[in-house]
């Protein structure tokens, strides 16, 4: 009996102790670690796809959509403005307008816009960086990766490595743009302990990109990727990204007074300062590196590489579209880019080098909702659905600065929005959708889409335009101008400018003279090309032109308001006249013109088609609209010159509509609250505070006078 007892106890003991170490180590083949993921190229590629997806959702939802770009870049420059009253959206209007010359940094509620629950752009961008770092490490540690990197020439693994490096660089570029100096992490999972000077980060990511550039393939030629796809980082993109980052690294930025700035080699950075330190913002100063020309040289080299390795990215100087069956005439190569973005969900625009892909009816999409022609539709089942219209255009820019002959003006600026299949004027009263907010962005418009989403708002499927040939040309022109190659600079400026003017009207030389220098002309041209797209703000900051541009638009706004107040109208230097009242009439464009959606207009006297690129979808009933209105379009009189005979117009069925008078009513909004208190000399605080969670766990402090909590 005892023997049996001891045997039993023995078995029990053995089970408990001998086997327990193995017993407590459990795992599942569904839960894998990094070693497994990077053990073969298929799973490694999937990890890279995971990084892309993190970037796509971060870009769309936290940077561009309802994020920092959405708040400030598409609403805060001399061209762009916000739709609502200043006090209505202080969490984004304060940062947009440089925190009232920095006076509000110390009281700004730092988690009022960038929320603190791990959903801010800062945390999400580091999430992208973490994923990129994991892929980079995985490839660097694998045998095939080592081989490809050592060879330094085009290969499948080299391409994948280059994509991961580009992913990391792209995320750092956005971080520095919004937060200035940030931690620099290159190892997934390891905390860095504190902030790194932005110059050192720029130098490191540029060196990385230069290293991988020769290992990659131009857009459209990546092995294993469809030739038409542009949602992967290509050699062309990396060339453009090097150029883009080099220009930003070379540019003026507002810097913290409590950081010793060092470059990628560890040397202290020498600065050329502009204006004066901002006493309201912890003495932040506005300066560029004194070796900025080296970076411009780098930009020049790589923009040229992008042009030489353009792959499937094209640049149209002539619109390839034929006249439509209904009779619409296009003739605007600039607009063709946006039109292509609004076509089939899976198609990419020819001029694009990289677009982040958005899926129709799946996740929140900023085009057309916030960046697009405003519309007052329901949240669902509407024609079109609601378009809030965050990106708005300063009226003084539209009237006074845009050349009336520039074919980009009407493609860019919407005077009208739409509601339930009909065209309505966009009033200047602060507000949103087509209820108010003033001139809108016209580049993306549900009415122009091949398959507009009438099921739900904010799910158009239009991709994010992240890099296209126009930027390469303009960047190359800028780099050439700074490094002394004026002839090439002018050549590329002309390529951009002349395709958007009727023959002989671009007058590029006169334009350069008016701007004061070739460099200034290139920066101004970039404004016309990218107006409303959020490029302007940081371009002005990095080129040191911000103070000049803000002063110009404020002075022009004041003059316009004074004129409207005194005379009921104001005449700009380009002969455009804004009046207190305009006249509109609902018309049946289909019966008069054969279509409802208008295109390039050459007849400035036609009230239905001028200004161009407006109207409504030719036939909303194809998408389920049951409305019966036929007078869907708006004939407009008096937009650029006072009407000669108001009574005749009224007799003809036109109605008087408040126009400039609404600007006067809201003068504070358009004039005083346009970069309030900005003194044009203090360092502009265009940066955002880092959210409290990240400050607390990151072990550093916010600069520029921001709070930490």
């Amino acid at each position: 009996m005892k023997k049996l007892l001891y045997t039993t106890l023995g078995v029990v003991g053995a089970v408990t102790f001998a086997a327990c170490d193995d017993f407590l180590e459990t795992n599942s083949p569904s839960v894998v670690d990094a070693d497994f993921v990077f053990s073969n190229t298929t799973t490694a590629r999937a990890a890279l796809e995971g990084g892309y997806e993190a970037w796509r959702s971060t870009a769309n939802s936290y940077v561009f959509g309802a994020g920092l770009f959405y708040a400030a870049d598409i609403a805060g420059s001399d061209i762009e403005r916000h739709p609502e009253a200043y006090a209505n959206q202080k969490a984004r209007h304060i940062p947009e307008s440089f925190y009232s010359n920095g006076t509000l940094t110390s009281t700004y509620d730092i988690d009022s816009y960038s929320s603190n629950d791990n959903s801010g752009a800062y945390v999400k961008l580091f999430d992208v960086i973490g994923k990129a770092n994991a892929v980079i490490q995985g490839i660097e540690e694998s045998a095939s990766g080592k081989e490809a990197i050592a060879a330094g020439t085009q290969s499948k693994i080299g391409q994948m490595y280059g994509e991961a490096i580009a992913l990391r660089a792209t995320a750092y570029r956005e971080l520095i743009k919004y937060y200035g100096d940030v931690p620099f992490a290159t190892v997934f999972g390891e905390a860095t302990g504190g902030l790194a000077p932005r110059d050192s980060i720029y130098d490191c990511i540029l060196a990385d990109l230069i290293k991988v550039e020769p290992m990659m393939y131009p857009v459209g030629k990546i092995p294993g990727v469809a030739a038409t796809a542009k949602n992967y980082f290509s050699q062309t993109y990396v060339d453009g990204l090097i150029g883009r980052i080099a220009l930003e690294a070379a540019g003026y930025q507002t810097r913290r007074s409590d950081i010793t700035y060092r470059d990628g080699k560890g040397n202290e950075v020498q600065f050329e300062k502009l204006g004066q330190a901002n006493a309201n913002a912890d003495n932040a100063f506005y300066a560029r590196r004194s070796d900025y020309k080296d970076l411009y040289e780098m930009a020049k080299t790589y923009f040229k590489n992008a042009i030489d390795h353009a792959g499937s990215a094209k640049f149209y100087t002539v619109d390839p579209r034929a006249t439509s069956k209904a009779g619409q005439v296009f003739g605007n190569p600039f607009q063709y880019f946006f039109q292509q973005m609004m076509e089939d969900d899976a198609a990419y625009a020819d001029e694009s080098i990289y677009e982040y892909p958005m899926q129709y009816n799946v996740s929140s999409d900023e085009r057309t909702y916030s960046s697009g022609r405003p519309g007052k539709g329901g949240t669902k089942d509407a024609y079109p659905c609601k378009c809030y219209g965050q990106a708005r255009i300063n009226p003084a820019y539209y009237y006074g600065i845009f050349d009336p002959n520039d074919m980009r003006r009407d493609v860019t600026v919407a005077v009208t929005g739409t509601t339930e299949g009909t065209e309505v004027i966009l009033p200047f009263t602060p507000g949103s959708q087509s209820n108010g907010g003033g001139l809108g962005l016209n580049k993306w418009d549900d009415n122009r889409m091949t398959k507009p989403n009438t099921i739900a708002q904010r799910k158009s499927g239009i991709n994010g335009p992240y890099m296209r040939m126009a930027e390469i040309y303009l960047g190359y022109a800028e780099a050439c101008a700074v490094t002394g190659d004026d002839a090439t600079a002018k050549e590329y400026l002309k390529k951009i400018r002349e395709r958007s003017f009727p023959a002989g009207l671009a007058k590029t030389d006169q334009f350069i003279t008016d701007c004061g220098s070739l460099f200034n002309a290139i920066i101004e041209e970039r404004g016309f090309e990218y107006a409303g797209e959020g490029d302007r703000r940081f371009t002005l900051i990095r080129t040191g032109r911000i103070a000049w541009a803000i002063k110009r638009i404020k002075d022009l706004t004041t003059a316009m308001m004074d004129g409207l107040q005194a005379d009921g109208y104001y005449q700009f230097d380009n002969d455009n006249i804004i009046s207190n009242t305009i006249y509109t009439k609902a018309v049946d464009a289909k019966s008069e013109k054969g279509y409802r959606l208008t295109t390039q207009c050459t007849d400035t006297t036609d009230p239905i088609t001028y200004p161009g690129w407006r109207g409504v979808n030719d036939d909303w009933s194809l998408f389920g609209w049951t409305g019966t209105t036929t007078t869907t379009n708006l004939a407009i009189q008096g937009l650029f010159a006072p009407v000669a005979d108001a009574t005749a117009l009224t007799n003809d069925g036109y109605k008087a509509v408040a126009w400039g008078s609404d600007l006067l009513t809201n003068r504070t909004e358009y004039e005083t609250n346009l970069f309030p208190e900005y003194d044009y000399v203090s360092a502009p605080v265009y940066l955002w505070p880092i959210c409290p969670n990240a400050v607390a766990t990151g072990g550093f402090h916010n600069g520029y006078g921001f709070k930490d909590e």
């Binding site: 459990t26 993190a54 620099f184 999972g189 766990t697 072990g699």
Partner: protein, 769 residues
């Protein structure tokens, strides 16, 4: 909502011989939900056999089977159903148009597709859970006093869930099929020895044991959307792949097994049943921790002294039946976290890009923490049991001091790592308190019995220590990111868990707080009122009433909520507004019978504590135009107003003092036009209550009636639950905790769109043959 019925039937049979005992039971429950399209059904069976093999050996077997069917619905629309305002007809009348866009983003509050009834009907969810468990035990009386028992329990479970969305709300129909299966194993071996041959005053027993637990669950799911419009749920699940394909996703997960292993020992010593001493020791291992943190040991000791048995207490024996002193000190461990938190994990996820499915690998957003270790609770207890007057009065008093170390919690981590959060052993909390229970049999007789039971608990919780750098504050979801202050539940050393942060309210700014300048129509705040500030954000028309308004900052105005601003910086001060958990809780119960009629009444109560009435605060949140057109709770009817209806029947906005005085005669609260959700002490309310929890009346049928039909006992009864609740709370029920939006943080007392407690009545019969 609806009045729901539920049925519960139990049948059991038992019997056997001296060596064999059998038992069989069957039960069936059908419980309709009080919310439409929801409910619960359960069917279970249980068979047991005990068999003596010989004098020393016996075996027992237990087999159980259960099927549970859950019917659920779309809760998000249903919990805020009151907001839906089907007023299209009125809009037509008011504006002469049926354009719901007049309400801007608030159009959803009147659109038919947001009708919670429609939404609930559109959405269909059912889940069937099957469980089988077999348990076998072997007992062996090895030698006298020594018993060895081995027990093995094996279980399996299967679930199948079907989710169908008809598509009217989301815009597209979809079906999701989820299946899972799992197992669990438990094997326990114990050896118990009563030491033999000691004098009768001494008693020593020793227990040695070992336990192994293992469980695992695998799951797979299929999702498809864009089924033909004619498809019903039934057809869709039969033709699951007949969808738009591009958004279809199949997923299969093999679970990580959870294993634990323990050895334990216990020794008891008793002297004359008067002095008792127990020592226990556990050594526990868990697969949830990294290899070097698998194991932890948890010792405990306890002693008891039956004072009433002492000889010098003899003279009290005529009235004192029992007096016992207990003392204990011990530790225990917890591993209530998921497996694999200590190591980095990558998982696949399929996404759709340009209509094509792309498979991605992503690392988790949780940073692995290989240093995670067992959460340890140390308990210290001193207790007294007593009974006197022939045990008519009996009860106990316990004093305790428990502290928990290395609490396992989710905390944010340095974003530059690429991770968002990690689990860590973040701190230490303590609970100190008294538990008191008392029973008194007031009447004892053959026909009439009446007794009272009551208990009272006092507990004081405290956060003793928080890991340096760990930020454990919580942000509740009711106002999403538009919440001021951002953190409403905070964890601070020296404060209990459930500390609520917000602004200290002094009502709202009244007209008397300002000077009015009739020429400009502006108000200027009195100097002595500058110790108050407002919070939130308001339409420029309201802020602009203040003469000092610069178009940018938030300033007080008549009707604005008024909060303490001790430092007079123009911003309301963030303050601790209270502690959610009540320190005093308890209940009392009266039961008895008169002849065949029995009855019992049970009350529960708590004194103190706070309820975070987010429902009320949400009624003051304008949220730009998202809330336009929505119904609000009755608080909004007492909010400060600025609009009046003129002779033409038009709404007129008027901010002159006379008009505001006239409009706001019955006003109790500030304006409801704040863009932000503001945490105000006004709605951090007292959570005290007294609830009549249950009341039962039963009647046992006379035996001589029932005997004739072979029934040995038959009783019918009526029970009412949650019959009334006395409270000062302005919301539905002060005993509430809506789970927090952010994972892992306790937010006691948070009341936001919670599922209401129902009042229920049960009529039942117990019949024994």
């Amino acid at each position: 909502m609806r009045t729901a019925n539920s049925w519960n039937h139990d049948v059991s049979i038992s019997g056997g011989t001296e060596k064999t005992k059998i038992y069989a039971a069957f039960n069936y429950t059908d419980d309709e939900g009080i919310r439409i399209n929801s409910g619960y059904k359960r069917m279970g069976a249980n068979f047991k056999i005990d068999q003596k093999i010989n004098k020393k050996l016996s075996v027992d077997f237990d087999l159980r089977y259960a099927k549970t069917a859950l019917i659920g619905n779309h809760f998000d629309n249903a919990t805020s159903a009151y907001r839906y305002a089907p007023i299209d007809a009125d809009i037509i009348e008011l504006y002469g148009t049926n354009d719901p866009n007049l309400l801007g983003m608030g159009s959803q509050n009147v659109e038919e597709s947001y009708n919670p009834y429609t939404a609930t009907k559109q959405y269909d969810y059912n889940k069937d859970v099957y469980r089988v468990r077999a348990r076998g035990g072997l007992s062996w009386d090895v030698i006298k006093g020594m018993k060895l028992r081995s027990e093995l329990s094996l279980g399996r479970n299967w679930t199948e869930a079907q989710t169908w969305d008809g598509g009217q709300v989301s815009g597209i129909n979809s079906a999701k099929l989820e299946k899972s299966n799992g197992y669990n194993v438990r094997w326990v071996n114990t050896l118990n020895y009563e030491v033999q041959g000691l004098s009768k005053d001494h008693s020593v027993s020793v227990l040695l044991g070992q336990e192994i637990l293992s469980s695992k669950s695998n799951s797979s799911s299929y999702y498809g959307q864009g089924y033909p419009e004619e498809f019903t749920k039934k057809i869709a699940f039969g033709q699951l792949t007949m969808n738009d394909v591009t958004n279809a996703a199949y997923n299969n997960t093999i679970g990580t097994p959870v294993h634990s292993s323990s050895v334990f020992a216990r020794a008891n010593y008793s002297y004359k049943g008067r002095y008792m001493l127990t020592g226990t020791f556990r050594y526990d291992g868990s697969s949830k921790f990294a290899p070097n943190e698998h194991w932890a040991s948890f010792p405990a000791v306890a002693a008891a002294w039956r004072i009433s048995d002492e000889s010098w207490m003899e003279e009290t024996s005529d009235w004192l039946d029992n007096l016992k002193l207990r003392l204990s000190y011990g530790t225990s461990g917890a591993d209530n976290i998921s497996a694999s938190l200590w190591k980095g994990t990558w998982t696949t996820k399929s996404i759709t890009v340009d209509g094509n499915t792309v498979i991605t690998y992503v690392p988790g957003s949780m940073k692995p923490n290989p240093d995670l270790k067992w959460e340890t609770t140390t308990s210290r207890n001193l207790g007294i049991d007593f009974a006197f007057l022939n045990s008519r009065v009996r009860g106990s008093v316990d004093f305790y001091y428990n502290s928990t170390d290395d609490i396992l919690m989710q905390v944010p981590c340095d974003a530059s790592t690429g991770y968002e959060y990690q689990y860590d052993n973040v701190g230490e909390t303590s609970n100190k308190g008294i538990e008191l229970s008392l029973a008194y049999d007031i009447v004892r007789s053959d026909d009439f019995n009446l007794s009272v039971n009551m208990n009272y608990n006092f507990n004081r919780n405290n956060v003793e220590k928080v890991l340096e750098g760990a930020r454990c504050d919580t942000h509740n979801g009711w106002a999403s990111s538009m919440l001021q202050p951002y953190y409403d539940y905070i964890i601070r050393e020296g404060e209990p868990v459930g500390t609520i942060q917000g602004y200290k309210s002094h009502g709202y700014f009244t007209l008397d707080d300002f000077d009015y300048d009739a020429a400009t129509g502006k108000y200027t705040l009195h100097e002595d009122q500058k110790k108050y500030a407002t919070a939130g954000n308001y339409p420029a028309a309201l802020l602009g009433m203040n003469a000092d308004y610069d178009g940018k900052s938030v300033v007080p105005f008549p009707g604005a909520p008024k909060f303490e601003d001790d430092d007079k910086d123009g911003e309301a001060d963030e303050k601790i507004l209270g502690h959610a958990r009540a320190e005093h809780t308890g209940g009392f119960n009266i039961s008895g019978n008169y002849k065949a009629i029995d009855f019992s009444i049970g009350f529960t109560y708590q004194i103190g504590g706070k309820v975070y009435n987010a429902n009320a605060m949400n009624s003051f949140k304008g949220d730009k135009d998202t809330n336009a057109g929505a119904n609000r709770l009755y608080y909004a009817g007492k909010a400060f107003r600025y609009h009046t209806v003129d002779a033409n029947g038009d709404l007129v906005f008027d901010t002159t003092p006379d008009a505001l005085r006239a409009i706001n005669k019955g006003t109790k609260y500030s304006t409801m036009m704040s863009e932000y959700g503001v945490v105000s002490s006004e709605f951090i309310e007292d959570a005290s209550y007294l609830r009549l929890n249950t009341m039962t009346v039963g009647y046992t049928l006379p035996r001589n009636w029932t005997k004739k039909v072979g029934v040995t006992n038959a009783r019918v009864y009526v029970t009412g639950n949650n019959l009334f609740c006395l409270t000062g709370y302005s919301g539905l029920d002060p005993d509430v905790t809506t789970s927090s939006a952010t994972g892992g943080f306790p937010t006691p007392g948070y009341d936001f769109n919670s599922y209401p407690k129902s009042r229920s009545f049960t009529v039942g019969a117990n019949i024994t043959f």
